[in-house]
């Protein structure tokens, strides 16, 4: 692999994971915090709140996974090498 391509791939991988994790990270934190607050206010709706949290976390974490896949492919199976 050429040094320039290798360097660009490593930087791109870092950016893909880093930038891809910022948004979902903030979103997951907010969602979990609000869910705990909701459970504290309405303990009788705990199941419903946790079910909604599970679905929303699954959707949010998929965004991180996309960035992770791009980064890992760039690092370990680089198509430009």
């Amino acid at each position: 692999m050429e040094p320039l391509v290798a360097a660009a791939s490593v930087i791109a991988a870092a950016l893909a994971v880093g930038l891809g994790a910022i948004g979902p990270g903030i979103g997951q934190g907010n969602a979990a915090g609000q869910a705990v607050e909701g459970i504290a206010r309405q303990p009788e709706a705990e199941g419903k709140i946790r079910a909604t949290l599970l679905l929303s976390l699954a959707f949010m974490e998929a965004l991180t996974i996309y960035g992770l896949v791009v980064a890992l492919v760039l690092l370990f199976a680089n198509p430009f090498a």
Binding site: A58, L68, V69, L72
Partner: protein
Amino acid sequence: MTNISQTNDIESCTPEVKEDSMKEFYQLRNNLLIGTILIAVVSFILVWWFYSFNTSLNYLLGACFSLVYVNMLAREVERVGTFKKRIGMTRLAIFMGLIIVATQRQQLQVIPIFLGFMTYKACILFYILPSSLLGNLNKSDKNG
């Protein structure tokens, strides 16, 4: 008055009431796991039919990790606010390991494994879309 009513609310939240309220969550978790297994089996057969047995095995490997991922996510959501104070990222380590092994091994293919891992998302979409579409239809019926 507010304090008294809050105290009554807290007192009324016995373990039995909590168990009843958690029923919906456990039902969703079981539905997601069963749905993921069903979609994985159907996709495994389709991939075997249209591509090859090797590709379908790769897909199945990803689907198995998808099941583990959903289970871990559900367990973590169950513990949020009780045992754990924050949501961890250990689930992603499993996925990272899977993709790294897939890229290093000649026998494994990255795309079928990744798509197999995404089976849980297909299951969630299949679970959510009918209820949300039917909900919108019911609302429009009531308005109209």
